[in-house]
Symmetry: C3
Subunit: 142 residues, 3 copies
């Protein structure tokens, strides 16, 4: 069985942060396109005010995660970034750096190996709507 | 030197979260079984109330990390997840999403490359004991 | 196109934590040395009081992230780690475990695929200056 690498990217429009969306389907399509049966998917958001993780993607847990993210770096604190750049998104940079831009998901039997109630999510932390790009790298045996 | 991909999984029983255990030995056994000398191990916990990271695995640091995790998303806050699902684990979902489900460890000379006092740990955040599954993917040169 | 794996490491001296530095250039040099055109870079800090993430590396955002890290696990709280080890770095272990030791960055067209204002950073959380080692694994098609 040969080891192959498949790369693609997709874009998603998100609202003012913290806003998030389920990207499990997009990752699954990349795995299907790759032909990889056993390996890993690496997903990374491009830009310093986005992040990726997993959650049970239902409205309550989504709201709870948004609240927790706002507590990590509240928009209404003073930020040194703001003193220089005046773009109002100091909290966005901090939130995204704490959460991290990358996610690894196993591929087994040609499918993403996640829990039944576990979805991959993309988060926009910026203080305005953003179209975010996710780079997907699938590595494994075909 | 050929590039190969080795996949396996293991299960660990954990107590009510935040509970954690050292999984360095299980990852090291996967590396040994893979025959990989130079590359990476990807570990991912299956399910939306688990996470993986590294720490100095000694009782004090473990207790300190548990305290910090509880502060990130305290069990006694109100959670929107709870309003719908009444399963009492809104905090578990938030904690796990903030920490992230995946970990990458380098493999060098056929061994995990961690610090002397650095161990890979699996965390259960759920509000009940759980048997958690970790999927391990070793990619590298044999 | 052959799939290859390239491994190297580099060291950086950092001040008492939270201190951080831009390691984008070091990762880019590893990619160039690898010959990989399409794939992923995995970076992992060795030791349990370091972490890796991305941020817009400008003095304001750096200061803001340091503040947020100190709020996650303040140095002046009591730590159980301290009761046993008396080395004063209980907060360092907690901060690093919450942030995580590893980072994945896509490689596209032989270059790191990051946002224009997104840099890879290495953080020292320890309570003394530390020379930190980062292990870099580049996997992909040449």
């Amino acid at each position: 069985m040969a080891v192959t690498v498949h790369c693609e990217s997709f874009d998603v429009a998100l609202e003012t942060g913290p806003d998030m969306t389920d990207v499990t389907g997009a990752l699954a399509r990349a795995v299907a396109a790759s032909g990889v049966r056993e390996g890993s998917v690496h997903a990374s958001v491009v830009g310093s005010t986005g992040s990726l993780t997993t959650i049970e993607y239902e409205p309550g847990a989504v709201e709870d995660l948004k609240d927790a993210i706002r507590r990590l770096a509240p928009p209404d604190r003073p930020y040194a970034h703001e003193m220089t750049w005046h773009d109002g998104n100091g909290h966005s940079h901090v939130q995204a750096a704490l959460m991290g831009p990358s996610l690894v998901v196993p591929v087994r039997g040609g499918r993403l190996r996640l829990g039944t109630w576990q979805q991959a999510i993309l988060i926009n932390h910026d203080n305005r709507p953003r179209r975010r790009t996710v780079e997907v790298t699938v590595i494994g045996e075909t």
